[in-house]
Symmetry: C2
Subunit: 232 residues, 2 copies
């Protein structure tokens, strides 16, 4: 057990040291790390502990170890890095309102940004999703279309930070959309209303009118909130 505590502590020290260097700009993507021997000496811990800490960072995809050439910060990230954090967000069991408040504020922002720069092709994709939504009666297909609709707008915002933040919690969002649809569609005439709010969002984006974007997204989320309040 003591050995484990030692490794966990070394991991914390090593990650903190690397992060500090990233913050002050001395380490960037693709850069080489000091040797394991140098790190062991610097932090006064065994090379085994250093190796295991580095190994964990390698497995999760932050560091790349090149045989005989040392350890490097990766030069591009893949999705596996997001998995552990995505898990943490899934385990926390946030309330529907917590999720709604986050989604509403970020999607209003994305909608406003998207309206300024969205391409004709993306508008066409959104219009086609709405047509498919109106034609299908299969809920699995409707759910996929709903998730896709929001992702097209998020991506069209062209803000890589917001896109990355939302991708970290995308599973949480997808599950929320699934649960929310079930609750909203308990009431028969809500299917048309929900479709209507999606149509309005596309019209608002097309109009490039910022206040229409805000209002259409607000109405969309209002419908979801109302349904939750009526149930709970």
């Amino acid at each position: 057990m003591e050995e484990k505590i030692k490794i966990a502590k070394t991991y914390d020290i090593v990650t903190k040291d690397i992060k500090d260097k990233i913050i002050d700009g001395t380490l960037k993507m693709g850069d080489r790390l000091p040797s394991e021997r140098e790190m062991a000496e610097k932090f006064g811990v065994s090379r085994t502990s250093i190796r295991e800490a580095i190994r964990a960072l390698e497995v999760i995809g932050i560091i790349e170890s090149r045989r005989g050439a040392g350890n490097y910060i990766v030069d591009n990230f893949n999705n596996s890095l997001l998995q552990p954090l995505s898990m943490m967000f899934m385990l926390q069991e946030y309330s529907a309102l917590d999720i709604l408040e986050l989604r509403e504020s970020l999607e209003i922002q994305c909608c406003k940004m998207a309206s300024k720069i969205i391409s004709k092709k993306e508008i066409e994709v959104l219009n086609n999703i709405v047509i498919d939504m109106s034609e299908t009666t299969n809920e699995d297909k409707s759910l996929d279309l709903d998730i896709k609709f929001h992702n097209v707008i998020i991506k069209a915002s062209n803000n890589p930070l917001i896109i990355n933040v939302l991708s970290v919690i995308s599973q949480l969002m997808d599950k929320f959309i699934k649960d929310a649809r079930k609750i909203i569609l308990c009431k028969d005439d809500n299917r048309e209303k929900l479709l209507g709010t999606h149509k309005d969002i596309v019209l608002a984006i097309e109009s490039k009118d910022e206040s229409k974007c805000v209002d259409s997204m607000k109405n969309h989320f209002e419908l979801i909130k109302e349904s939750y309040i009526k149930i709970n």
Copy 2:
């Protein structure tokens, strides 16, 4: 090298499997995982690969291994889990505008929520920060106060999802505030203006008026945006 690819793949398979079980609700915090032998058989990989994948999840703080009792999902998360992701966000080098758009939308939301439920004590903390801000001429102290000011409002929103999302990118935000202050304070009369926007935010929260909260935060971010646009 092949061995490494095998372990990385096993890590991906194991994390995906655990995550799927978290999503469908069969695994919760504190739950026991299947034994390493069972997992090795299920996925058709060696126990060594499974052990190393589990080890990485343990080092980063998702799994806790209890001697002789197996592996468990942790029952509370500590900050070290956020470190690798925080690093990823630091390495991406987002533009000032990307960061401003994310912060503005989430902080407007936090300000609105906070205004409904903030305690008298928290209002007092905000007022004291503004007084300290007006009295100090030391930029390091001013920076700390600025960061603290925004964190008090974020925390007062009482939305744990937004708080967690912002804590993942807090280092990115702190660095942004530091850089933004340098740019804003190049112009002499901006010190008073910046202080004024902070004062207005407290008044808006105190008034519990939603539109005042939105306006005061917008004005605050407008001042930052203007300074950036003038420089770039």
